[in-house]
């Protein structure tokens, strides 16, 4: 059995499951149904996994509860991935973490009713982690940074789950003028994208394709690496802006495009904002800040698309259009243009849930592919003699790794 290949396929499965989870989370926010199940980690008082089907298949509960179940499945996949990537050495660490989580969970359960949810969540995770640690076999750890990346995913998935739960439980608590629900929702949205990118990186680095990718030592391509990094940074910034807009649950701050309330830059004085709100036929009321935030997101979208197209041309010319990197940037540009179109459609359809969710998924894909391109370009421009061991897949001869320029 080719363990490396199966391990890669499992990482790919986890990555694809996470993409589904990002979409499901996007759908929950787009439909505004995140609070349809008021409790957590229970659902309407039931154990999450024992909610009667007739209650599950009911309006917004279906989306929210499915998101919870899907997230639990991804959590399990990540714990298994951590075990597989870490090999035998991971068993002891996982068992220790699991036991600590069980003890901490039981402690929280005993503090008081308000901590019961968090306690039950932590203790359940701990039990799953201990069980996974007990799985025999899978002795050989993955090479290079992969075990550490898997541990990072292990940490992130738990923080992400906790944030998602606390977003429900502490929804009404205020920090200044902002509710913890809004704040945790925003962090939960951004962290979800980060987690997705991390799993994409794990899948990439564990792939046979990556192991075969030669280090060409294209020193002349360093500019492209920095350019790709900058363009990916623009995308990340856009995702933060987008998440800030979405998690205020304020509806569309500006209803027209390419103009904004009939102007290239909308008026945001108090009288104008009152006038805008008067003619909105949805239930939302927007503020000057929300209008400015959307304008910033629009400008950011133009900047990101220009950066991506520019880097596509540069990378294509430098590395060749037929190279892996050349084909990658062409796909990246295609997604960027589709994403721009989805952004326009989000406004024109008055934030239809399916369109807005596709926009979220497009953003996540752009960020993930951008990160993969940066890593690939960095590897291709890496001096042949340096740093290769950290990426090396066990069992693959060094000569193959270095390849021929």
């Amino acid at each position: 059995m080719n363990t490396d290949r199966y391990r890669f396929l499992f990482a790919l499965l986890t990555f694809l499951a996470t993409l589904g989870l990002v979409c499901m989370g996007g759908l929950v926010t787009s439909k505004g149904v995140g609070m349809s199940v008021p409790d957590w980690p229970t659902s309407f008082g039931y154990n999450m996994f024992a909610l009667p089907v007739n209650q599950w298949l009911h309006g917004g509960v279906f989306d929210e509860h499915t998101h919870r179940l899907w997230a639990s499945s991804v959590g399990l996949l990540v714990v298994l991935l951590t075990r597989w990537m870490g090999g035998s050495p991971a068993r002891k660490s996982l068992a220790m973490v699991g036991v600590v989580e069980i003890v901490a969970g039981i402690f929280l359960l005993r503090i008081g009713p308000e901590w019961r949810g968090g306690g039950a969540f932590l203790a359940s995770i701990g039990a799953v982690v201990v069980l996974v640690a007990a799985i025999p076999g899978l002795r050989v750890p993955a090479g290079g940074v992969l075990p550490r990346l898997a541990w990072a995913a292990f940490l992130l998935v738990q923080v992400q789950g906790l944030l998602g739960g606390l977003r429900v439980v502490l929804d009404k608590a205020l920090v200044g003028h902002v509710t913890l629900g809004t704040l945790f929702g925003l962090v939960h949205g951004c962290l979800g994208q980060t987690f997705f990118v991390l799993l994409g990186v794990i899948a990439l680095l564990s792939s046979p394709w990556w192991a075969r990718l030669p280090a060409h030592g294209y020193v002349a391509g360093r500019f492209e690496v920095r350019g790709l990094l900058l363009a990916t940074g623009f995308v990340a910034l856009q995702l933060v802006l987008g998440a800030s807009m979405r998690h205020q649950h304020a509806g569309l701050a500006i209803l027209d495009f390419p103009l904004a309330y009939g102007r290239w830059w909308p008026l945001t004085d108090p009288e104008s904002v009152v006038r805008y709100n008067q003619v909105r036929m949805d239930e939302s009321t927007v503020t000057a800040f929300q209008i400015q935030l959307q304008m910033l997101h629009r400008l950011g979208a133009v900047a990101a698309v220009v950066a991506i197209l520019t880097m596509t041309v540069r990378v294509g010319r430098r590395f060749g259009w037929a190279s892996s990197l050349g084909r990658g940037v062409v796909v990246w540009s295609g997604i960027a243009l589709a994403q721009f179109t989805l952004g326009m459609m989000t406004i024109w359809t008055n934030k239809a849930a399916d369109v807005a969710t596709a926009h979220v998924a497009g953003g996540a894909s752009l960020l993930c592919l951008g990160t993969a391109l940066v890593l690939t370009a960095r590897r291709l421009t890496m001096p042949i003699s340096a740093g290769m061991e950290s990426y090396r897949t066990p069992g693959l001869p060094r000569a193959v790794l270095q390849g021929t320029p």
Partner: protein, 233 residues
């Protein structure tokens, strides 16, 4: 001694004799608001489609004859400082029926209890998201379930929403005194109560059209005021 002055003033103010008074107001909308949108999701939902009453439409602007504007909260904003009023013992009801909230706009006094009822044969959740008061979110799983709620601070337009059926929204305004009313499709209200003659500031608050303030004088227990909101579509 200085500290006694405001205390004495408060005692005098609260002990002023109140008398029966009536304030009549009319709220009108000038201009043409966007037409009410049909909420297609009501019929499309497997449960709501079975209990929906007629065609559900957006109630952002409900306008009667001659521009009469419904769902506007009219209340005395200033002129009663220092006076305290007990919360009415009557309990208004907010009902969830056919996957819509009734009424769309309600008003209660600070500390006044109100009921939230589920008349539908399936579950709704009631998620209140005030900015000043303490919010709540609970599920009403069974038909006929009633939960009693109360807000303890003044706040206009507290939103109550069902996230299971996200188009279901109602607004509750919480006011400091009992002199308030919500307009219906006639746009007219009558505020009656023990209110001494004098000058008052009266405000009309509509969730979308905004707020308007007017100074009025109650003479011989009577006052009349008109509000006109101008909405340019």
């Amino acid at each position: 001694m200085k500290t006694l002055v405001p205390i004495a003033a408060t005692v005098i103010a609260t002990s002023l004799p109140l008398s029966a008074a009536e304030i009549n107001a009319k709220v009108t909308l000038k201009g043409t608001p966007p037409p009410a949108a049909v909420i297609a999701a009501v019929k499309a939902d497997a449960n709501c489609g079975k209990v929906a009453v007629g065609e559900a439409k957006s109630r952002v602007y409900v306008v009667g004859a001659n521009g009469a504007l419904a769902n506007t909260v009219v209340y005395i904003k200033k002129g009663l400082e220092g006076k305290t009023f007990p919360a009415p013992t009557t309990k208004p009801e907010i009902d969830q029926k056919g996957c819509m909230y009734y009424p769309y706009v309600a008003a209660v006094m600070v500390g006044q209890k109100f009921d939230v009822k589920n008349s539908d044969p399936f579950m709704h959740n009631v998620n209140a998201t005030p900015k000043v008061n303490k919010g709540f979110n609970f599920a009403q799983a069974s038909q006929g379930q009633v939960n009693e709620k109360m807000f303890d601070k003044p706040e206009l337009g507290v939103r109550l929403a069902c996230n299971v059926h996200p188009w279901m929204i109602t607004y509750v305004s919480v006011l400091e005194n009992p002199f308030f009313a919500v307009t219906d499709e006639t746009g007219a209200i009558s505020i009656k109560g023990d209110l001494p003659d004098g000058k008052y500031t009266i405000e009309a608050f509509h969730q979308k059209a905004g707020t308007q303030v007017q100074e009025i004088e109650v003479r011989d227990g009577k006052a009349t005021v008109d509000f006109t909101f101008d909405v340019k579509s």
